[in-house]
Amino acid sequence: MKKVKIYVTLRESVLDPQGSAVMGSLHKMGYGDVADVRIGKYLELLISDDTRDIDAYVNEMCHKLLTNTVIEDYRFEIEEAVSQ
């Protein structure tokens, strides 16, 4: 099995009100050095080794469902998963 770690982030041009609220809170707590906060998503997929072109497979899933490329960017890493 392969473990695929997908990191989804908001595109830079898109405002992140959630990130802004978290930054405001950090500032109030005294962490004034924080200049920006952006909140994203992390997904883990286990995919069987039979998948021939795993990069294309993951890209296709990202485009069709896992991300919305109008507002999000993504990148992923593939690792060998230790079978249970």
């Binding site: 898109v14 009100p17 959630q18 069709k64 469902l65 919305n68 109008v70």
Partner: protein, 227 residues
């Protein structure tokens, strides 16, 4: 005219949508489950509001991949009227049938109130019973109604008169106060406010009724021959 009200797991405005066209207008309507693979017998498709699939991943993202959405796409391509309200609008953008995306409201709050909308384009099959520039009062109920699109898309929307409704005031952060848009062909409308909740004075207002009347009127003119 026969409407399909599409029901996803988590839809919660399907009854209001049904009530609007069936009871207020006296048209035919059926509830159609999300796994349906045939909408050919319907003249109009209604995608109701709610929280399909619990808004998991992104609002509308999972509903967008339902079997029925291939049929909705076919209906849209065939020129049938398709109306997506609230979560229905989010599903249409996720499906790529309408451009842009709905983000979290800028104040991060779920907002539920009646707001003023401006009819930006009264020359559509959804708004022909309104006057251009008319101000109407329609309820909103959303946490993610902050319409976003890039500059190029916005210019396209403006150029083609695809912005159909805008908010009189900015409260959710939507680009240029956009509340509802139509596709280029003019037969698919997505909007965050709920006209189906404003179809009778008894429930606090009837400004939304003209939207449904517009659809039926246009359809009658195109499809019913005068005997």
């Amino acid at each position: 005219m026969k409407f399909a009200v599409i029901v996803f797991p988590g839809s919660n405005c399907d009854l209001d949508m049904y009530h609007a066209v069936k009871d207020e207008l006296g048209e035919e309507a059926d509830y159609v489950w999300h796994d349906s693979t045939d909408l050919s017998s319907y003249d109009g498709i209604l995608l109701p509001g709610g929280f399909s699939y619990g808004d998991y991943l992104r609002c509308g993202a999972i509903a967008q991949s339902s079997p029925v959405m291939d049929e909705v796409r076919k209906a849209a391509e065939a020129g049938k009227p398709v109306l997506g309200i609230c979560n229905g609008f989010q599903i249409l953008t996720e499906a790529g049938i309408l451009p842009g995306v709905l983000l979290r409201n800028k104040n991060l709050k779920f907002m539920c109130r009646t707001v003023s909308l401006k009819v930006e384009n009264a020359n559509t099959q959804f708004t022909n019973e309104y006057a251009e520039g008319e101000e109407i009062r329609i309820p909103i109920a959303h946490g993610e109604g902050n319409y976003y699109c890039d500059d190029a898309t916005y210019e396209q929307l403006k150029k083609n008169n695809q912005i159909v409704f805008s908010y009189a005031d900015d409260f959710n952060g939507s680009r240029n106060n956009i509340a509802g848009i139509i596709n280029e062909r003019g037969n698919v409308l997505g909007m965050m406010p709920h006209p189906e909740r404003a179809v009778s004075d008894l429930i606090g207002g009837s400004d939304g009724l003209s939207l449904f009347k517009s659809i039926v009127k246009q359809w009658r003119e195109a499809n019913v021959s005068h005997a």
